[in-house]
Amino acid sequence: MKRIDHAEAASHFIAAKDNEAFHDKRLWDLRQKRDRIRDEIPEWQALRDLASVIKEHALSHLAGYLEQFETQAKLNGAQVHWALDAADHNHIVGEILAARGVKTLVKSKSMLTDECELRPHLERRGITVVETDLGERIQQLDDEPPSHIVVPAVHKLRGDVAEVFADTIGTDRKNDDPHYLSEQARLNLRPYFLDAEAGMTGANFIVAETGSVVVCTNEGNADLSANLPPLHIVSVGIEKVIPRLADLAVFIRMLSRSALGSPITQYTSHFRQPRPGSEMHIILVDNGRSERLGLADFWTSLKCIRCGACMNTCPVYRRSGGLSYGAIYSGPIGIILNPTQDLRKYSNLPYASTLNGSCTNVCPVKINIHEQIYKWRRVMSEHDQLPFAKKTAMKIASRLLSDPKAYRRTIAATDAALEYLPRFLLYTRFNAWGKQRENPATPDQTFYGWYLKHRSKPK
């Protein structure tokens, strides 16, 4: 698989000036809202500590909790399935739907089903799949993946949405009022809710002690998807299990505060037993998670509760847009999740970061995101995933910087620091520095030269 070129993709996003400016402003606004609501909770840091430890406990006892959840869910009358990978997952969903003659599936937002590329799989089987979260619906109609895990269409402006809706659901192309556009989406979606034979949701959490599936939305679309059709399918990653309802309180207190700066999502819904006369199927999906659990430097990435706070705060993400990461998971969390799926394809992503550490410090479950990004760079280097020019430059720099005489000779020989800068830094993307920045002025002498003249004691 070809390497994702994040920088190249980002340059196109930045070139769309209005989109980039809005994107940066909107997500920074979410970060500030998160800061303000954090300050309303004196125990915020204690909650982060608890959330982190509860997740680490759950992951270090994952097999037991999955079994407990399965037992409880079955007692509740749900059917539990296990999927090794994306293909397995899609097959299971397809079979459940086929056995019941389902023609239309309404679904609420689920990163996992995007990860598994469920939609094209079902569409090939002739099933109409309707995304019902407004942002996700916009992305579906535009045939694009979500660009953000909480606000999937945040990279689009109202005019972009007006174009998409005009082309796909026949709205007035000239009307880009968000109220109008949202209302049109509502009217377009309502019949699907009423007539779909099956509904699907993801899960933000599943609770081992009760067998509950917990879904958080602001639109209520998960509740519409699950409470109307006679069949509710839940897709959930195995890392989402938490032990107790008491633990759920910690996570619900942090999730929407971290994500959007609101105290809670409008709807925090708990599905424990199917409605009388209806079915509930829960698919526990691995798709690489059990292997990730064994990676000493990276297993804590499984603590992620998908709040998107790391994306909102990330100065690189805000300027490059989620699609530039070329993966379902973008931003800082995407950088550390994606390489386990495809090392080569995502080998550039760990370098799409300044390692500034803001992500780590907003993460409600205290994942050391920027340190894992740093560690992934080591993995890329160890696995020969660095571009040839970069690796070569590193080897040259290594030789030069470990040999003081050669180092001084090189600077002296070129007789100007600016000549030495390209050698040392501008090894690829020649003159990348100077495209949008002036070069630094070249001083008459180095500090070394000055020191020899003014301070060095003769020996």
Binding site: A46, H57, L66, F193, N227, L228, I238, Q266, R275, D286
Partner: protein, 197 residues
């Protein structure tokens, strides 16, 4: 090996060293006054709040709040409505409801949330297909925070339970907040002490 056993096997092999499960405190030492916090939380999330005179007739109040409403469906005995919930055999039949009326089992001051389960809803979809929702609440039913909420037995007995906090909302287009994205366009909490048993 089937998928289940393969997954559990790999998980067991890869589980990191055991981390102890912490005790989750209730964080209730300095809780603010419940009622004002609940109202503030609800309004912050776009909910409305009405406190009628103690003797007020709720049916009359409803007529003032929603004079245009043609179909009113109530899941609580204080309000009669004109669409009996007992006649609903399929959730989608609630699609034409203008105003749904419910009573919350309890509410959470911290977040301004209302707890509703299939017991209070009768048909779950009433809370989502109705254009507008009225939720009766007895101020005595407000509890402090989410830790207290999740200690309630209802979460262990309800088939379906929702913490509902304001109307359906979206800000997916340019961050413009819009109520009534998919579900109810408005949520109004009406102060109404429970009827004596």
């Amino acid at each position: 090996m089937n998928a289940r056993d393969t997954i559990l096997d790999t998980v067991r092999r890869n589980q990191p060293a055991a981390v102890e499960l912490p005790v989750v405190p209730m964080f209730d030492a300095d809780l603010p006054a419940l009622w004002p916090q609940f109202i503030a939380g609800l309004e912050r999330m776009g909910g409305k709040f009405v406190e009628p005179a103690p003797s007020a007739d709720l049916n009359a109040l409803l007529a003032t709040l929603f004079p245009q409403a043609a179909v009113i469906c109530s899941a609580t005995p204080e309000v009669s409505g004109n669409r009996p919930l007992s006649a609903v055999s399929e959730p989608k039949q609630l699609d034409d409801v203008d105003v749904g009326v419910l009573r919350a089992a309890f509410a959470v001051a911290e977040t301004g949330s209302l707890f509703l389960s299939e017991i209070e809803l009768g048909v779950n979809a009433i809370a989502y297909l109705s254009q507008h929702l009225i939720c009766l609440l007895d101020p005595a039913d407000v509890i402090g925070n989410l830790h207290h909420a999740y200690a309630r037995p209802e979460f262990r007995s309800a088939r379906y339970a929702v913490l509902m906090t304001g109307p359906s909302a979206t800000a997916d287009i340019e961050g413009v907040l819009i109520h009534g994205a998919q579900g109810v366009r408005s949520l109004t909490v009406v102060v109404a002490p429970r009827l004596p048993n």
